[in-house]
Amino acid sequence: MSTILSVKNLVKTYPNGVQALKGVSFDVKKGEFVVIIGLSGSGKSTLLRCLNRLHDPTSGEVIFDGKNIVKIQGAEIRGLRKKMAMIFQSFNLIDRHTVISNVLTGNLHRTGTFKSILGIFSEEEKSIANKFLKLVGIGDKANYRADQLSGGQKQRVAIARALAQEPEVLLADEPVASLDPATCHVVMDYLEKVNKELGITIICNLHFLSLVRRYATRVIALKGGEVMYDGDPKAIDNKWFETIYGEGAKEVHIN
C-alpha cells in the first residue's frame, strides 16, 4: 500500500513557550486505522491540528499527496482541509441548525461564498448528505435540530459532515471521550465501517487501550511530545503501558 501521509521531525512550540511536539516522525499508509495514544498534554491534539493546519507547525515537514503542507497558505489550506476531514471530542456542530444543514456544511469548500450565505445547496449534495446520514444510522433524524440529539448521535452527524467532504483522511480528536461506554463502541464501529467500506484512512486519538486493541491497525504512542512506540497494537504489553502512561498506571477496560 502507498504512503498517504508522511510526517518528518514535526515541532510545535506555542507562543507561551510550551513545546507540544519535539520532532515527531511517522508515515501513514493508505487505508490504515492509526490510533494515537498518550496522556493528556502529550501532544496528541496538537499533532492532529498541525496535520490539517488548524495550528501552524513551528518546523518540520508534513508530506500529504506529494506536497509539503507546513508552509501553505489561504486557498491551499482550504484544499488540504477538504481532503483531510476532522471530528472532535465536543462534536463542534452548529447546535441551532438542523442535522441535514450541519451535514451540508461539509460542502462549503466547493460552494461559493454568496451561495453558501443564502444556504443554497444542490439536490445532488442534499441526496449525498442524506446517504451519509443513513450510513451512520440516523437517516430519520435529518430534520431535527442538532442540539436535540444525544452525544453519540451528534458524533455520528459529525462523521456524516466529514464524509460529505469526500475526504481521503479522517482525523478524529478523541471522538468518544465524552460518550458513555456503550455509545463509544457504536461510534467506533461507524469509524471502522468508514475505514473498511469507504477506504478512508483514519488517524484517531484515543484514551482507552481496550478500544485501541479492538479497532486500530497500528498504534503510535506519544509522551511529552515524542513518539515512544510505533507498531502493532496487540504488542503493547504492561511494560509498554507503564512507559507510556507512567509508573503505577492501571489499564481500565471498557466493554
Binding site: N52, L54, R78, G79, L80, R81, K82, A85, M86, F88, S90, F91, N92, L93, I94, D95, R96, H97, T105, G106, N107, L108, H109, T111, T113, S116, I117, A158, R161, A162, Q165, L171
Partner: protein, 342 residues
Amino acid sequence: MRENIKASIFDIFSFGYLLTLAFVTCYQPTEDQFLDIRVGAIVTLICFIVGWVLTFVLYKFNVKTLGLLIFEAAHKKALGNKKGFFKSFWGWHLQILFWATFIVSIYVTEFSFDDLFYVKGLEGAQRIFVSLLTPNLAILPQGLMAIFETVFMAFMSTVIAVPIAFVLSFVCAKNVMGKTMIGFSVYSVIRIFNNIVRSIEPLIWAIIFSVWVGIGPFAGMLALMITSVASLTKQYSEFIEGVSEGPIEGIQSTGANSLQVIWYAIVPQIVLPYISYTIYRWDINVRMATIIGLVGGGGIGTMLMNYQGQALWHEVGTLALLIVIVVWAMDTASAYIREAIK
C-alpha cells in the same frame, strides 16, 4: 513596580486634593479670586507638589497608604491585613478623603432642609402635582401624534443602526480580527473611534444634528442612530468575543473560507442575543427620544418643552402620563419578548 506607580499617582492626587481643599477652607477666597485661573493653578500646583513630597516621605518610611493598599500585588493581598481599619494609616486616609468630599459636596449642592420644607415652595409643588394629576385631555390627540413620532423616531434609528453595527461588530471583535497585524490595527482604530462616539451623550449629538439638518424629528433620529450604532457595535462585539471556539474549528476543518466560518459558526451562536439586545435598544431609544426632544429633536419631548415653557401644567401632565404609559408598555413588552426568545 507598576503597581507602585499607580499607587503613587493615586496618593499624590489624594494628598494634593486634600491640601487644596484645606487651603481653600482656611483662606476663604472670594469668587473673583476663585476665577483667577493663574493664581488658582499656582496654588493647586504647590499643593500637589507638597502632596508628592508627602507621598515620597511616607513611602520611604514604609507607611501603607490607601494607594498602596488598593494597588498592592495580588500575592501580598492574599496575606491579609494585620492592622484594623481605625488603627491603620490607610483607614484614616480613606475616612478623611470621604468625609472631606462629603462636606464639600454639601456646600456645593447648596443642600438645605429649610428650602426643602419651605411652605410657599411646597404649595407651588402641590399646585404642579395636582395639575399633573388632572391632565387636560383636550390635547390628547396632538400628544398621541407626538408620541407616535417619538416611537417611530426610535424605531427608525434602531433599524438603520442594526445593519451598520452588525458589520462593525465583527471588525470590533478581538477573536475575529486579532490574528493578524493589519486586522488588529483596524480593530484598534474602529474601537477607539467607537469609544469616542459612545462617550458623547445623545443630547450633544441632538444639538449638533439640529444645527446640521434643522430642528425636528430627523435631527433626533440621527442623534439616536449614531449613539445606537456605537452602543450596539460594542455590545454585539462582546457577544462575538464570547462565542465558543468549537463550532469555529468544526467549520474551518471542512475547508470553509473566513466569511463562511463567520456565517456558519459565529452567526448562529449570536443571533438570539443580537435580537434580544436590539429590542432592548429600541426600548432605550424610545426613552432617549423623549429627552432628545427637549433640545429640539422633535416628538413628544419638544411638545413637552413648549408647554413647560408656558407653565401649562395640565397639558404637561397629559404628556407626562402618555410618556409613562408608552415607556412602561415598551419596557414590559421588551422584557417579555426577550425572556421568551432566550
